[in-house]
């Protein structure tokens, strides 16, 4: 097995963030919300506060760790929702064609015409800000790309001999879609899913930064960035570390996605020279 830098580095980074999130209670030094001591406000990084403290005197290191939980939850869950919607719509549209394909295409075109972040913003403005609303907003607005992908894969796969054979053997349409088509198109979908997770993390950061995502005092990396706006020049570490955390997570997910794409490439046909 060749050493695939993308895959390994991406996996390590992503795993690091996951571990930070899962073990936050044990790795953190303080409670991210409650332990706020104005005495230690805006302290630079040092031996006691590894990443320094923010304007409220909270330990940034602990807040970044807990923030991982939120970002990962949003990233993974919302992308999962996106993938399920996209695959269901795209796969069935590509396989059945006809009027259903027209409907799905129309829907997808509409979704693509609206910038997803604005759409999510609008939804968040209607719903009460919070984690669940965030998941709904992001989960319902980012499925277009997966849908297109699933549809294109379905179109190209449905004329393969084994799909026709399945029909001739008496398989029903749903069974064919699930057992013959889906397993053979997973590769690109997983890759897009991984990359989409990175996008979701960024979207959450943006929304929280704008005050429409996770509200303070809960430690979301985005809201931490928002809080740090006034202290950018005086206490830059307050924005640097959450920003770095976002960067590392998204970079890790992108590299992971890239690496997965390399492995999951359809098996090369037996080459006949």
């Amino acid at each position: 097995m060749k050493f695939r830098a993308n895959l390994v580095i991406g996996a390590v980074l992503f795993a690091g963030v996951v571990i930070a999130g899962i073990f936050a209670p044990w790795l953190a030094h303080t409670d991210p919300v409650m332990d706020a001591n104005l005495m230690y406000a805006e302290e630079a990084p040092g031996s006691e506060f590894w990443f320094g403290t923010d304007a409220q005197g909270r330990d940034i290191y602990s807040r970044v760790l807990y923030g991982a939980r939120i970002s990962l939850t949003v990233g993974i869950v919302s992308q999962l929702i996106n993938t399920v919607i996209g695959v269901c719509l795209g796969l069935s549209a590509g396989y059945w064609g006809g009027w259903w394909d027209d409907v799905v295409n129309g829907l997808t075109n509409m979704m693509l015409a609206i910038p997803s972040l604005i759409f999510a913003l609008a939804i968040m403005a209607i719903l009460n800000p919070g984690l669940t609303s965030l998941l709904i907003a992001l989960g319902l607005t980012n499925w277009s790309f997966t849908c297109r992908l699933a549809r294109a894969s379905a179109l190209s796969l449905k004329s393969q001999g084994y799909v026709q054979a399945a029909k001739v053997l008496g398989y029903g349409d749903i069974r064919i879609m699930l057992t013959q088509l889906l397993p053979n198109m997973l590769g690109p979908i997983i890759v897009i899913g991984t990359l989409g997770m990175g996008g979701a993390v960024l979207a959450e950061a943006a929304l929280s930064f704008l005050g429409l995502g996770i509200r303070p005092p809960y430690p979301s990396w985005g809201s931490m960035l928002s809080d740090a706006r006034d202290q950018i020049t005086t206490a830059p570490w307050i924005s640097i570390f959450p920003g770095l955390a976002i960067f590392v997570t998204v970079l890790g997910l992108n590299l992971l996605g890239d690496g997965l794409r390399d492995i999951l490439d359809p098996q090369a046909r037996t080459r006949r020279a």
């Binding site: 001999g161 054979a165 053997l169 008496g170 398989y171 037996t270």
Partner: protein, 346 residues
């Protein structure tokens, strides 16, 4: 006037007919309609009558655009016919006559390309097992037995069942495809160019296998092929198609030693003879655009024997000119029969 082939099939079905196709047509609508002018139709299959007898192999011959693949897909239920009847083993299947599962137990297909006809993510076992389960055979021991038996019949070993398609050669994959087609014990198999995608040196293995299986399992075949040598070797009866119609049909001997339709003769003489340099009847030109079907006999623009009578509608009937030999040509009796067999070997 001798009865037409279609009338004979409809009125005198013989007892051992396992597949009957009556006046089958498949027309694909293309463009036109509402704002684009008159609706245009592609007559992929244009009034085909066929009869397959139990235990027989019917060779379906023709060049691209003749409709042989569409015909096969329609018989299997993968394509809706525009008109006509299909009767499979006594059951009428056109329209909503029969659902997919019931049809699957009567007619199956072996596909042309062994590299895309197997699901790359499934082991051989899963590929063979799933249809059994779907059709109600669920006991592990019975499934095992059937799979092992079927693999043996196609010349593979039981341990091959645990492997994935990419671990096999083209010929072996084709064998797996044959095993899959047989696993439900159908009566009719449609073979779509079963050996054209295989290396020349292994074609004989598959041809011999298919003939053996036909004998031992009592199968009936419809074999689609452009390779006339293979068709002559394997078929009992032959049907030649051109532009969606059967232009000649008969026993293999009649077709190959006494072809009467100019197109059939052109096809046979187009095969390069390894022992001679010369060629018999030549036809020129290309297969016409099937959207613009020539009037009357569709072959007249390329036919060396065409006269005015050939261009006039209606389309000529498939007429009987010998025992089980039918030709769709108004001038068939005037065109001399070949006095020398067109193809010779050594």
């Amino acid at each position: 006037m001798e009865a037409s082939y279609g009338a004979i099939i409809m009125n005198n079905p013989s007892a051992d007919t396992i597949l009957r196709v009556e006046d089958l047509a498949v027309h694909f609508p293309l463009g036109g309609g509402l704002f684009g002018g008159p609706r245009r139709y592609l007559h992929a299959v244009d009034g085909v009558d066929l009869e397959l007898k139990q235990g027989e192999c019917l060779g379906l011959v023709g060049e691209s655009g003749c409709g042989k693949s569409t015909l096969a897909l329609t018989i299997l239920g993968l394509q809706e016919p525009t008109r006509g009847r299909i009767v499979l083993a006594g059951h009428e299947v056109s329209g909503d006559g029969m659902d997919r599962k019931a049809r699957a137990r009567i007619a199956q297909m072996v596909f042309q390309d062994p590299y895309s006809s197997l699901n790359p993510r499934q082991t051989v076992r899963r590929t063979l097992e799933a249809p059994l389960r779907l059709h109600g055979i669920t006991t592990a021991s019975e499934i095992d037995e059937r799979i092992t038996e079927m693999l043996g019949r196609v010349g593979l070993r039981p341990d091959h069942a645990e492997r994935y398609p990419h671990e096999f050669s083209g010929g072996q994959r084709q064998r797996i495809g044959i095993a899959r087609a047989l696993i439900l014990e159908p009566k009719i198999i449609i073979l779509d160019e079963p050996v054209s995608a295989l290396d020349v040196s292994i074609r004989a293995q598959i041809i011999n296998l298919l003939l053996e299986l036909k004998e031992t399992l009592g199968l009936s075949y419809i074999m689609i092929s452009h390779d006339l040598g293979v068709v002559e070797h394997m078929s009992d009866t032959v049907a030649v198609m051109y532009l969606g119609r059967i232009v000649e049909t008969g026993g293999w001997q009649s077709i190959f030693t006494n072809p009467r339709h100019p197109y059939t003769r052109a096809l046979i003489s187009a095969i390069p003879d390894p022992f001679k340099r010369s060629r018999g009847d030549k036809i020129t030109g290309e297969i016409p655009n099937p959207l613009d079907m020539p009037s009357g006999c569709g072959f007249h623009p390329r036919c060396p024997e065409a006269r005015d009578i050939c261009r006039v509608p209606p389309v000529p009937e498939l007429e009987k000119i010998g025992a089980s030999h039918f030709v769709r040509c108004r001038r068939v009796r005037e065109i001399a029969a070949p006095d020398v067999p067109l193809a010779t070997t050594g």
